[in-house]
């Protein structure tokens, strides 16, 4: 095997001939300050990029980035390779089944594309803190989970520091479902963020619990009966692990028996796993389109060679092909990137009660009955009664004893569309 020698080989002549066409001269809408040639090509040396997810989208993203000239790529994925992944996650081979996706993907890319370093992390994105995310120039997500997207989005918004322009990490998010997909560019705190568009999400399919319990008509009803009702009834507090084949088999057997009782066809092991893991149909070619557009945008952002997506591209291939690109607007009341930060100077002698009165008196915020929290610490809650009573003694305390100078408080009130953040400075 000549792998090691190939991996160390310098770029050969013409390696990036095609990519260089767009880096050696400006396009019609390239920014005037842009410097063609060496400065534009420097991304190969000085850009560290993070890919979150090494699944259907992740494999495509990693391959695209490596072939475009990104040399320092990191990848996070918490999953291991399943046989069912092999039909589209082309960085994996049957011998990889059971291995961590991040590690297998990194090895494959490094073997196949000389000169690229892919650093894997097998684990959860939540394992890593701000220091870790701060080292990257840009983050691309190929995830199948709303929760993980919300977390990374909030983390990157949170990281933006007014004093440090390197703290702003563009986030490119790709997602697919069957023939549909979307790619978007999020510039944390500048453009609309993932949380801003949470209400655009399709509802997860959920069946009425009484249908599941009494009048099943679909194979999915039988599977949900087994997982939602029978599992907790029979197995008590034992936590269901949807990656444990024994657990799926247990559910499958119950669901199949119930389906037989109700003369319903179509309960299979694979469907059982699909329903309980909420697996969305994945089509390799849709992943390819979306991953490619994510990578093109990453390339344009880091090289500045052409204007990038602003900020949401969607494609619906279910009835012909329809695509639409639009600027999703920031939501002022977004709990992650919205809300205002109000700097308030407070005399050290003020009690919490006096401070609340001063908030109510302010004409600019129009707040009635505000509740205050500082981090996870409850300062004063207007409701429910138990928490009001528990926090009432704080009203007489000095605010400066409860909230540190320069720290922030979250204010909620019925009159506010969402929440208001105040930063306290003592005078």
């Amino acid at each position: 095997m000549a792998t090691a020698t190939v991996a160390q080989a310098a770029d050969w002549p013409g390696r990036y001939h095609h990519v260089d066409q767009v880096l050696e001269q400006p396009g019609p809408r390239t920014d005037e300050a842009w410097m063609p040639g060496a400065p534009a090509k420097s991304f190969r040396e000085n850009i560290k990029i993070l890919v979150i997810g090494a699944g259907g989208l992740g494999c495509e993203i990693l391959a695209n980035l490596a072939l475009m000239g990104f040399k320092d790529i990191h990848v996070i994925d918490m999953d291991t390779i399943d046989v069912s992944n092999l039909n589209r996650q082309f960085l994996f081979r049957p011998s990889d089944v059971g291995r961590p996706k991040a590690i297998a993907a990194a090895e494959f890319i490094m073997k196949r594309v000389p000169g690229v370093t892919v650093t894997p992390y097998h684990g959860k994105i939540q394992d890593k803190g701000t220091d870790y995310y701060m080292q990257f120039t840009l983050v691309i997500c190929g995830l199948d989970s709303v929760e993980a997207r919300r977390w990374i989005n909030a983390t990157l918004v949170d990281m933006v520091d007014e004093e440090n322009q390197d703290s702003l990490k563009p986030l490119i998010d790709g997602g697919t479902e069957g023939f549909r997909g979307q790619a978007r560019v999020i510039l944390p705190t500048i453009t609309s963020c993932y949380e801003c568009s949470l209400d655009m999400l399709n509802k997860q399919t959920a069946f009425p619990i009484c249908t599941i319990a009494n009048t099943p008509r679909l194979p999915e009803h039988c599977i949900e009966w087994a997982s939602v009702l029978e599992w907790p009834r029979v197995r008590g507090d034992e936590k269901m692990d949807t990656d444990n084949p024994d657990h799926i088999t247990w559910l499958y057997n119950l669901a199949a028996a119930r389906a037989k009782d109700f003369k319903i066809e179509g309960v299979t092991w694979a469907l059982t796993q699909g329903v309980v893991k909420n697996i969305i149909p994945a089509i390799a070619s849709t992943n390819a389109i979306i991953a490619a557009s994510c990578c093109n945008e990453a390339f344009k952002i880091v090289t500045s060679c052409a204007p990038y997506l602003d900020n949401y591209f969607m494609m619906i291939g279910t009835d012909g092909v329809y695509s639409y690109t639009f600027q999703h607007e920031k939501r002022p009341e977004c709990p992650v990137c919205g809300g205002e930060l109000l700097d308030i100077s407070v005399p050290r002698s003020w009690t919490v009660e006096r401070f609340i009165e001063s908030l109510i008196e302010r004409q600019d915020i129009q707040v009635k009955k505000p509740s205050l929290m500082s981090g996870a610490k409850q300062i004063y809650f207007q409701a429910p009664p138990q928490l009001e009573a528990a926090t009432r003694p704080n009203l007489e305390k000095l605010l400066s004893d409860l909230v540190a100078d320069g720290s922030e408080m979250t204010v909620t009130a019925t009159t506010l569309p969402f929440n208001l953040n105040v930063r306290i400075t003592y005078i």
Binding site: E147, V160, L168, L187, A213, G375, Q382, Q386, T410, N419
Partner: protein, 177 residues
């Protein structure tokens, strides 16, 4: 990356907040502190610092469940409000829409949940189940059949079950004082 930071500089409201708490946490703070509960409903936080896990107690003052207290457990995930809270009825009770395991059949807890709904809507929905049990979408089929067949017998069964009695061989928890 030449233009991005300058876009930020151009923004008037450059000073943006930095959330130390998760979006779910803030939303729960908002929902809880704006609860408007009638005298028949109250909350109980075993750990007041944990806003994501608490009990909710309904003491209906009309209808056939009058006089009893029903405790529900609320477990809110970090994916709230994308996902609804998990709500269970703690005592074993005789009710057409609540099964013996404490599962509750209320549309907004599952198929009709939307992020625009809030904890208050769920609490009002739960209370409604005690005012108007709905036997046409049953979760406890026996109770629903009893209710459809003979309302008077059903009401007797309810009264008996609330005192901790048996109905058709099933022992219920005592939920009256």
């Amino acid at each position: 990356m030449i233009k991005i930071w300058s876009m930020k500089k151009n923004e008037e409201q450059a000073a943006k907040k930095k959330p130390k708490t998760s979006a779910a946490q803030i939303r729960v703070q908002k929902d809880l502190t704006e609860l408007e509960l009638s005298s028949t409903m109250k909350t109980n936080f075993p750990d007041p610092a944990d806003l994501l896990n608490f009990q909710f107690i309904i003491t209906p003052d009309e209808g056939m469940y009058t006089g009893a207290s029903f405790t529900f457990s609320f477990a809110i995930s970090t994916n709230y409000p994308h996902e609804p809270p998990k709500v269970k009825c703690v005592p074993k009770i005789y009710h057409p829409n609540i099964d013996l395991e404490g599962n509750v059949c209320l549309n907004i807890l599952r198929e009709d949940w939307k992020p625009v709904l809030n904890l208050n809507s769920i609490m009002v929905g739960l209370q409604y189940l005690f005012l108007e049990p709905n036997p046409s979408d049953p979760l406890n089929k026996e109770a629903a059949e009893d209710m459809i067949k003979n309302r008077a017998t059903f009401i007797d069964n309810v009264k008996h079950s609330l005192r901790g009695g048996q109905v058709k061989g099933v022992q219920f928890d005592r939920v009256v004082n």
